[in-house]
């Protein structure tokens, strides 16, 4: 097996027939068991199930269903699976408080990937309840960044970031409520897509915040993220925020031009809230995007600073609805940080929650109207400072680090609050040799444009010409 294969390479060269598909899956599972566990990114492997999936694929239909045909993938442990026979897969939400819980249903998007012929072979580590941005998890494990094992992967889709950056699988689905796809994608040098509000169903995904949760891919290439996104979008009546938006084949837009696209580097909140060493890298990368024939300007977004704390309040208020009984019953099994983040929402009354929802929609309407009448896409850093080490960012052991760690979501939370789509793409390395990434944020349902921009960046910055050491 060759680590770092992308989906076209796997599809064309590794899984051409039943025998090679089984062989390739065996190799992927061996890497998950070896390297994946070494970097503390793997929760569990379902190799037998995955071999049965391959047999069903080749028994039923010899013609490939899609470019994902027989390609093994591993997703964040929040994604439920209930096979037709036997018990559901472990569904613990990264928490000892849910130990041995199993999924009652298969997540809607997992069914969509099954329909496309993808093979589902494992689950990756999540931060407890997906409620944390550093990636620390004393129960499920704290994934090590493949670029340097002393550093965090970011969270909460930390295991997904780690297994993709280590080259074991090409894509992994994560979830993003305040930055949990984009932060680990950026920390690990990956492409990460946080889709528009309502574009991708969250049914069957371990919930945190019904209004803010989104799900999407982390991958090494823009192509692979676009391919998976194309398969997982679509209306779902079982998701209360699902929107019946037009179905788009994002691959068809992948290599499109971006001539004349107006990009705005937001300076007042995003850049100003980012340490100079990172802000300088992002500013320089932004200037280089002019070579794509884009039109660049600096912009300021009024009221954007309000959205960050309000996102925190909304997450905790809604998480409380989901998890309060479990906290009462099983708080001894939980990380005190998680308990605090959930309980913060207990004291929000129904009136406050209603006002918060109305304020969110009002701010979104106003900001979207103002910003996108001037530009097409705004650009920001992802991490507001250089990636910290696992030791330095361990809030459990170093409570004094808490406020700095709270700042990690500075550049990502506003995007969730406004419901906008965003893509992150690596553009270079920091002083410690860890990835630095740029975030493109577009108007609602502009994923096709964001994917084109990310593709231009991929070809221009050639980030993956370097690779992390794998052993």
């Amino acid at each position: 097996m060759s680590l770092f294969d992308d989906i076209p390479q796997i599809s064309q060269h590794r899984v051409k027939d039943r025998q090679s598909a089984h062989q390739y899956l065996e190799n992927v599972c061996a890497e998950l068991e070896g390297l994946g566990r070494q970097i503390q990114a793997v929760r569990f492997i379902e190799e037998e199930f995955a071999h049965r999936q391959i047999d069903q694929l080749f028994d039923n239909d010899t013609a490939p269903k899609s470019a994902l045909h027989a390609v093994p993938l591993a997703h964040k442990e929040l994604y439920g699976r209930k096979p037709e026979t036997g018990a559901g897969w472990l569904y613990e939400g990264g928490s000892a408080s849910c130990q041995e819980d199993t999924a009652a249903e298969t997540a809607h998007v997992i069914t969509k990937l099954d329909d496309a012929g993808a093979i589902d072979c494992a689950r990756t580590v999540s931060v407890e309840y997906a409620l944390g941005v550093t990636g620390h998890n004393n129960y499920a494990g704290t994934p090590l960044n493949p670029w340097n094992h002393d550093y965090i992967c970011g969270g909460s889709s930390s295991g997904s970031g780690a297994v993709v950056a280590a080259g074991i699988v090409p894509v992994s689905l994560g979830s993003d409520t305040g930055g949990s796809i984009r932060l680990p994608a950026a920390a690990c040098g990956l492409v990460g897509i946080k889709p528009t509000h309502g574009l991708v169903s969250r049914s069957g995904v371990f919930p945190l915040s019904v209004s803010l949760d989104t799900v999407g891919p982390l991958s090494r290439t823009v192509h692979d993220a676009a391919l998976v996104l194309s398969h997982i979008t679509g209306f779902d009546k079982n998701d209360p925020v699902s929107i019946d938006a037009p179905k788009i084949d994002y691959l068809a837009h992948l290599d499109g031009k971006v001539d004349g696209v107006k990009l705005g580097l937001e300076t007042q909140y995003f850049l100003a809230g980012t340490d100079n060493d990172i802000a300088d890298i992002i500013s320089a990368a932004f200037e280089q995007t002019e070579s794509f024939n884009t039109r660049l300007s600096e912009i300021k977004i009024a009221d954007i600073n309000t959205t960050n704390p309000l996102n925190v309040l909304m997450i905790s208020s809604e998480a409380c609805h989901v998890h309060i009984d479990r906290i009462v019953e099983r708080h001894q099994h939980m990380n005190p940080q998680t308990i605090m983040r959930v309980l913060t929402g207990l004291y929000s009354s129904a009136e406050i929650e209603a006002r918060l929802s109305a304020t969110r929609a009002g701010l979104a309407a106003k900001i979207i109207d103002q910003v996108f009448s001037e530009i097409d896409v705004f650009v920001t850093p992802v991490w507001p400072f250089a990636l910290p080490t696992i030791e330095d960012s361990d809030v459990g052991a170093r409570p004094e680090a808490a406020s700095l760690m709270q700042h990690i979501g500075h550049n990502t939370r506003p995007v969730n609050f406004l419901g906008l789509p965003a893509i992150v793409v690596p553009v270079g390395f920091d002083k410690n040799g860890l990835p630095v990434s740029m975030q493109f944020v577009g108007k609602p349902y502009s994923e096709a444009l964001l994917i084109k921009l990310a593709r231009h960046c991929e070809q221009h910055f050639r980030f993956w010409d370097r690779r992390p050491a794998t052993r």
Binding site: T196, H197, G198, S211, V241, I243, D244, A245, P246, D303, T306, P309, L310, V312, L313, S316, S317, C320, H321, I324, I327, V328, E329, H331, Q332, P336, I339, M340, L343, T344, G345, L346, Y347, S348, S349, A350, I352, E353, R355, L356, S357, A358, T359, R360, A361, G362, L363, A364, A365, K366, I368, G419, K443, P444, Y445
Partner: protein
């Protein structure tokens, strides 16, 4: 859960009885107060809408663009 005053007080009591530390509860109450204050300082929206209606509107705009 219903987020009325009685329910919130009942859950508060359950947490105390379950042994969740007073310090932790006080800290979360304080954080909630600070965040709520920020919400209340934010002017009420001029237009009354909700996120799903708003985004259905944007989705229709994308459809008519196609």
């Amino acid at each position: 859960m219903k987020k009325d005053t009685e329910t919130i007080a009942r859950y508060h009591e359950k947490l105390v009885q379950a042994g969740v530390s007073d310090t932790l509860i006080d800290q979360t109450k304080q954080t909630n107060l600070e965040l709520t204050e920020m919400l209340l300082k934010t002017p009420s929206p001029e237009q009354q809408t909700d996120m799903n209606s708003l985004y259905r509107y944007y989705a229709r705009a994308v459809s008519s663009d196609k």
